[in-house]
Amino acid sequence: MHLVIIGNGITGVTAACTARRLNASARITLVSAESAHHYSRPALMYLYLGHLRYADVKPYEDWFWAENRLELVHAEATGVDTAARTVQLATGQVLAYDRLLLATGSVVRTADWPGQQLRGVQGFYGLPDLERMARATQGIGHAVVVGGGLIGVELAEMLHSRGIRVTWLVREQRYWQSVLPPEEAALLTAHIRRHGIDLRLATELREVLGDAQGRVRAVLTTTGQELPAGWVGLATGVTPNLALAQAAGLATDRGILVNELLEASVPGVYAAGDCAQHRQPAPGEVAVEQLWYTGRMQGETVAHTLCGQPTPYRRGQWFNSAKFFSLEYQTYGRVPAQAGADTASFCWQHPSGRHLLRLNFRLSDHAVTGVNALGLRQRQAVWERWLGEQTPIGTVVAQLAAANFDAEFSRQHEPAIRRAFARQFPAIPLAGRPRRRGLFGAWPG
């Protein structure tokens, strides 16, 4: 069998590695226009920050591919003939496949702002974007970031590290308000501003202004202000990269439409990761998932199907994580920005503004439904069990230390959290003995 995978991001590479594990003899080819080898997309910012070199963000050393007989083709795939089962490359080469996986990822999404074609205005998604940004931000004094998600905070931190003054325009009233409840948004807003970022909420970009050479010099906001900008980063999201799928005549909507086996509309063709759109997402789940973790899970799932073990995609308990300057964020289960009517939400904050824990639970049976943690590391295996077993919130609060994943000797906040919970919900008994950690202490189950 010849398996051809378009895209060497986390989805394509996970699929390739899994397929090799399941099938020792298959011929597996990875095609990518972006880079010769797989690299970690979330790590791009660390190249700019100077924390890492390019070789450091490659998850596997270069010998890995040949030793595992994963063929790498560094070229752009320009077309697919689904009847003849061939892929055309920009080099003129034609690859015949038995099964084809499209893991083409995303492209930057922008609105149609006047002036966005000026030099020094760009989105941020891949290696070429990083290289453009590195060149364009040399020696500038001011930059503007547009868009209030996770790419936005990455760009702000990157620019800030080089001493560039950053103004950050966020359309919403609260930071990342589609995802975060108000307390988390407020804490992060304060944290980001403490780092000297001029974070402006409820402010949009109206127009990008250029100079005589066609380079950006300033932006105009919807509040009528003109802000100096030697560089403008558009962090208003990404959208599935459909160019190849459409050229191949696959059914697409926002993404490449796939069933639960991640099969596209044509036999022998599959899609997974950022670029795929589930025809029938499970209740409460989104149709297009654009996360590193879901990309990896989809890649692993589709490889089973590709290797003759049809496996429907089941995401399991939701989880995600991010970092905002020095504050780490982890979430497990469901914590919507606004808790539903049947849900109670308990939120504890440390007075320093550096730690926050939110616990959501159902009012009917007190089962825990989700957690948000800022500046507190939580153990995923424990949360997976608590959420899966619909553990009563009283037990969770009493045993919270079992989920503590902070470094040894870190201050433990569980007693304070337990007291705050008991004050707010005096009727809920805190079942079970509190568990403590220590150098020789109990091992959380």
Binding site: A43, G50, N68, L127, S321, S326, Q380, F405, S410
Partner: protein, 450 residues
């Protein structure tokens, strides 16, 4: 890297980061301190040399501490090694080569041309007299510089890592053991006419402590000497396995050991330089275990010779001992181990050469409750953990497939967990059952990573 795409970061690295203007006075103080040190070394007049040396040490210490404050004190506490790979000093640039040459040169002079240091040694006589009741020698000079480096750059580490109680504790610990047990106490013992003994160095690192000659000498020295022999045997064969069982190798390498102490303080800026490639790991295994084997063999042969069972064994043990002392004791641990800090990273000796690390590593890998846990499926393969590992472990290989890190090399410094931007790694001591079990969130791709 040869097949890298045309316009790339690898081919066109970003411009080197300039030293922030605010840090220049502190750096100038350090440079002046080095000049004063040279002046002291060149001055035959004892009083002037003493003055120069005093000024040199004050400028070096003050400049380094001021620099640390400027570099880490003004930003919010946290892990943000900005420009680490853009600065010449920390990315094998010209500054790193110059510092590597200077450090290596110092070791060469110290071991083989100590007469070049005569003026510096004489300048330390009053200090040596007051501490040890005897004149200084080149090793006292070395010990003084070494301890000062651990203390001053330990101060830098305390400031840099002030957000982490784990790093504060282990930094304070190595500073304490260096000052107390590797400098003051041996000096005090000499002042009291007792054998100079380092209670924090054990066989097989301090290999001669269990040689028959040393043991006989100590036993001859009365009650304290007997205790020293007892201490050396118990630490090497009882305490080391027991402590390593509960805490991993780190109790020694990152909390007590003087070599580790220098690496964690003076070497902290160079931890990213340790080679993470599979090739480097192969060299590690090829070197460190034979060195352990060699010192075990040498010790056994010496005892065999001392027992008189095999006559004329000295023909073998004499040259073998000389070879080990020269190649491992001097060249490897000193010249290469510390001299190459700015080029090869801070743990070259600990990683490739130290027989104690090999012994502790075997215990850690096969007989310990210690491991670095991976947090479920959270790894984003960013590589920050591997970059922070001074022992050259490619940590992300484990994290990205959900496996716990159980490696003989790990000294438990904890920087991988600190550098991780997603809270994926945690140093833990727990039951040995299931210690190697991976996370259920990632089905490890069982493809070879080493």
């Amino acid at each position: 890297m040869q097949d890298f795409p045309a316009p790339s970061l690898a081919l066109a690295p970003p411009p080197a980061a300039a030293t922030p203007p605010g840090e220049k006075p502190a750096l100038a103080a350090v440079a002046l301190g080095l000049l004063a040190l040279l002046a002291a070394a060149a001055d035959a007049d004892a009083a002037r040399a003493q003055l120069s040396l005093g000024i040199a040490l004050a400028l070096l210490s003050g400049g380094a501490l001021a620099w640390a404050w400027l570099a880490f004190g003004r930003a919010e506490a946290g892990w943000h090694p900005h420009d680490l790979w853009r600065r010449a000093s920390t990315s094998r640039g010209a500054v790193a080569w110059a510092s590597g040459l200077a450090l290596t040169g110092f070791y060469v002079v110290l071991y083989w041309f100590p007469w070049l240091l005569t003026n510096l040694i004489r300048a330390l006589d009053p200090f040596s007299q007051s501490l040890r009741h005897r004149v200084a020698d080149q090793w006292f000079l070395y010990g003084t510089f070494y301890t000062l480096a651990v203390l001053v750059l330990g101060g830098r580490a305390l400031w840099k890592y002030r957000f982490s109680r784990y790093h504060l504790a282990r930094t304070a610990s190595v500073m304490f053991f260096q000052l107390g047990f590797s400098f003051l106490l041996p000096g005090l013992l000499l002042a009291l006419q007792q054998p100079e003994y380092y209670f924090t160095y054990f066989w097989p690192l301090k290999y001669d402590y269990l040689f028959p000659g040393t043991v006989a000498q100590l036993l001859h020295g009365g009650g304290l000497g007997v205790f020293m022999v007892f201490w050396g045997v118990v630490m090497a064969f009882v305490a080391t396995p027991v402590l390593t069982y509960f805490l991993g190798k780190r109790w020694y390498c990152a909390w007590v050991c003087g070599c580790g102490g220098l690496a964690e303080t003076a070497g902290d800026a160079y931890r990213q330089l340790s080679d993470k490639s599979r090739q480097a790991w192969r060299w590690e295994v090829r070197l460190i275990y034979p060195i352990l084997g060699l010192i075990v063999l040498l010790t056994a042969l010496l005892w065999l010779g001392a027992s008189g069972a095999v006559p004329a064994l000295g023909v073998v043990t004499g040259p073998l001992g000389q070879f080990y002392g020269f190649m491992i004791g001097s060249v490897f641990s000193g010249v290469v181990g510390v001299g190459f800090y700015p080029l090869l990273g801070s743990r070259v000796w600990c990683r490739f050469g130290c027989p104690m690390a090999a012994y502790l590593g075997l215990l850690q890998k096969h007989f310990s409750r210690f491991r670095i846990s991976t947090n479920g499926g959270q790894c984003i393969s960013c590589g920050n953990c591997s970059n922070a590992c001074e022992m050259g472990i490619d940590v992300k290989q484990y994290a990205q497939c959900g496996a716990p890190i159980v490696r003989a090399a790990c000294v438990g410094c904890g920087l991988c967990a600190t550098a991780c931007p997603r809270g994926v790694l945690n140093l833990e001591n727990g039951p040995r059952a299931g210690r190697l079990a991976g996370s259920a969130f990632i089905h490890a791709d069982s493809l070879r990573i080493l």
